[in-house]
Structure formats: C-alpha cells, structure tokens
Symmetry: C2
Subunit: 215 residues, 2 copies
C-alpha cells in the first residue's frame, strides 16, 4: 500500500489492488465494497468518489484483466499474416498470457474466474468482442476459399466448439498437459484443412491418384 | 422408499438412492455415510454389511452412473460401422444420455459432477476406459489411412482437445446451444478430413483444379 494517494487514478488502482488481495485470500464470493474501502483507510461513501457503483468497480477490474488480451486480438487482426496463422496467434498468444497468470498464482486465477462467473453480465461483452475479432479472421479465411458451404456464424460456432481447451480457462486448467501451442497448431490446421472439405475432397484425392496413374 | 428389503442388492440400491436424494437436496460436499444409513433406518455398522467401505460405496454409485455409458461404448466399438461413424456415435450417443440426465434434473446432474470431482480416483478408471475404447476406433481409422503422420496417442490427445463440449459435462452444460449432434458430426468430419492432410492435400487440390482445367 505504498502507492502515492495524490491522484484519482492511483487511488482507483489502490482500491482494485485491495479487492484483488481479498479475492486472492478469501475467494470471490461476497466481496464487500465497504471492506475494500476500509482496507484503503476510506469510508464507503468516499469509495463512490472513485467508482460510481459496484458495477462500475467490477467493470474496471475486468477492464484491467482483459486489457492485454484485447490488445493481442487487435494486433493479430490488424497484422498482414495469412488467416490460418492469424487464427493460431489469436488463440496461442492469449492462452499463453492466461497460462502465465495461472502459473504465477493459481488461487488468484481461479478466484478471478469465479468472480467473472458471478459478474457474467460484465464478462459477456468481452466474450462477444473476442467473437467479433474471430469473425474478422474467419471471414478473411472464407474469402480465400476456406470452409466452403458454411456461413460465418456456423464457422464461428464450430471453431469455438473445437478450441475450448485453448480459450475457456476452466478447460485450460484441466488440460494443461495436452493444450500446448504445438497441439493448438494441429487443431487449427485440422480446422482449415478439414472443415468444408467433405466427401468432394475425398473424391478429388481419388481423382488425383487416378489421373496420376494414367499420366 | 417402497422397495422390498428382502435381499442384499435391494438394500444396496436403497442406500444408493438415499445418497442420491441427499446429493440432490444438499449438494455433493460432505455426504455422510451415517446419515445415509439413518435415512434407511440403519446404523452405520449395519451399512458396512452392504458396502465394505466409503470407497466401495462411491464405486457402486459411479458404476450405476456409468453403466449405460459403458454399454454404449462397447456396442459402438463392436459394431460393423466405418470408423468415422463409430467415432460420431461414440460421442453422440453418450452425450445424448448425459444431456437427458441434465435436463431431467439439472441440480442432481451438477451435484453428481461435483461428487465425481471429489472422488476423482474412482472416476479416473472410467475416463481411461473411454480413452481405451476411443483408441480402438481411432486405430481402425488409422488402418484405413486416416491421420497420416500421427501416432495413436497423439491422435487421442487431439481428438480429446477437439471434442470437449461433447464429452466433458461441465463444458457441455455451458454450450448446450451449439453442442448439437449436427455440429458434432461436422467436428468429427473435420477431424477425419483435416488431421494429417496438411500442405500435401492443398497441393493435390491445386493439381486437380489444374488437371481439370487442361482436360
């Protein structure tokens, strides 16, 4: 608690840090704003000078959690990489950040996930934003001829079904051993090479073999 | 509680039913054997005439939970279906059973999942058995030329990564809307058509196009 108290943002940060300490120590359930305020030597009414509501406080905490993750998504989407590599990095770089956070402090990580479940209305916007960025990347892949016969919403749903261990933190925690970057690359390649290929491609492969045999 | 008490198996069933009622009402934490016994008008020492230990009791409960699921796996593996259809049914038929159980009683389902997490040493054997049956199906697919360049253990790991919403009950509960049989079929097709295809197949497709253009 040695941060200077001379400006609004520093005090906001101090209050969020105090909440984090409490969540780390006691879990996410029933986090009390008056206790958070008291931990910073402040009354609950003073607290509201820094955050207009409990909701605004959790939004700020979520904003801090997602800041780096959103920046990664923006960078990947804005890059000149081919869509297959973009989709790989879209998941790989964020899961690496989440994994590092988990390994740095597993209890805090789990407690933050519980906090997110408790305030799902705050988290939902970030999940929708991730789907939006993913849609941009998958749309680029479609325009290059991938995923023939599927519309974008369906491709988003299939992708989310196939990559849970690389984006859902609860599944990630259960599958640390196999949810590696190498296996993510294989899953992404399988998606790009396999979705929309169907029986036509098998027939094509047979054709290639037949054509080669007679050439 | 109208079951006849005239034989060993009926009393075992009655004790398991009593435990289920308690889990349904109060959750899985700290289920007490003496309370289960009391609910059946029995002392704890009498309880041990029917189950040798607390461990044996949970093993019997798990056995009842997994009986139908294991039977499905045995049937699918023993069938004459092609491996792609076998793998689809391997997941589709079991997730349909789990989903029906969830929909019949969401609280009991969740409490049973928590009970399983608490007694993971009992559940592990069933998870390993599922991996064993899946290995048989995936091995048949390999012998038909699928998944070129991957060894069986790696294919099992990739498959498990890609199908979490269709086998992990916690993920299933979160993704009820998109984890449909149709989408499972698409994921399984994507796996069969995409894993091990890599750049060679893309080149083959280009060849087909080129050969068609000149023919």
């Amino acid at each position: 608690m040695s941060r200077p108290l001379n400006d609004h943002d520093a005090i906001r940060t101090q209050l969020m840090d105090a909440a984090e300490d409490m969540v780390r120590a006691r879990g996410a359930i029933n986090l009390s704003l008056s206790e958070v305020a008291a931990a910073c030597g402040m009354s609950q009414s003073s607290f509201y000078r820094y955050f207009a509501s409990k909701e605004a406080f959790f939004e700020a905490i979520a904003g801090r959690w997602f800041e780096e993750l959103n920046q990664i998504m923006e960078e990947v989407v804005a890059s000149d990489l081919p869509p297959r590599e973009k989709l790989f990095q879209f998941f790989a770089r964020r899961v690496a950040v989440k994994r590092a956070r988990f390994e740095a402090d597993p209890n805090l990580f789990r407690a933050n996930m519980d906090l997110g479940e408790e305030h799902w209305e705050v988290i939902r916007g970030y999940v929708d934003l991730a789907d939006h960025y993913m849609a941009v990347v998958l749309g680029e892949a479609m325009s290059e001829g991938y995923f023939e016969g599927y519309d974008l919403d369906h491709i988003i749903a299939i992708t989310n079904l196939m990559v849970q261990p690389f984006c859902n933190p609860f599944v990630m925690m259960d599958m640390m051993r196999t949810a590696t970057p190498d296996n993510l690359r294989i899953v992404i390649n399988t998606l790009f090479d396999g979705l929309g290929v169907k029986q036509a491609a098998a027939a094509d492969k047979a054709n290639v073999t037949a054509l080669r045999a007679i050439s």
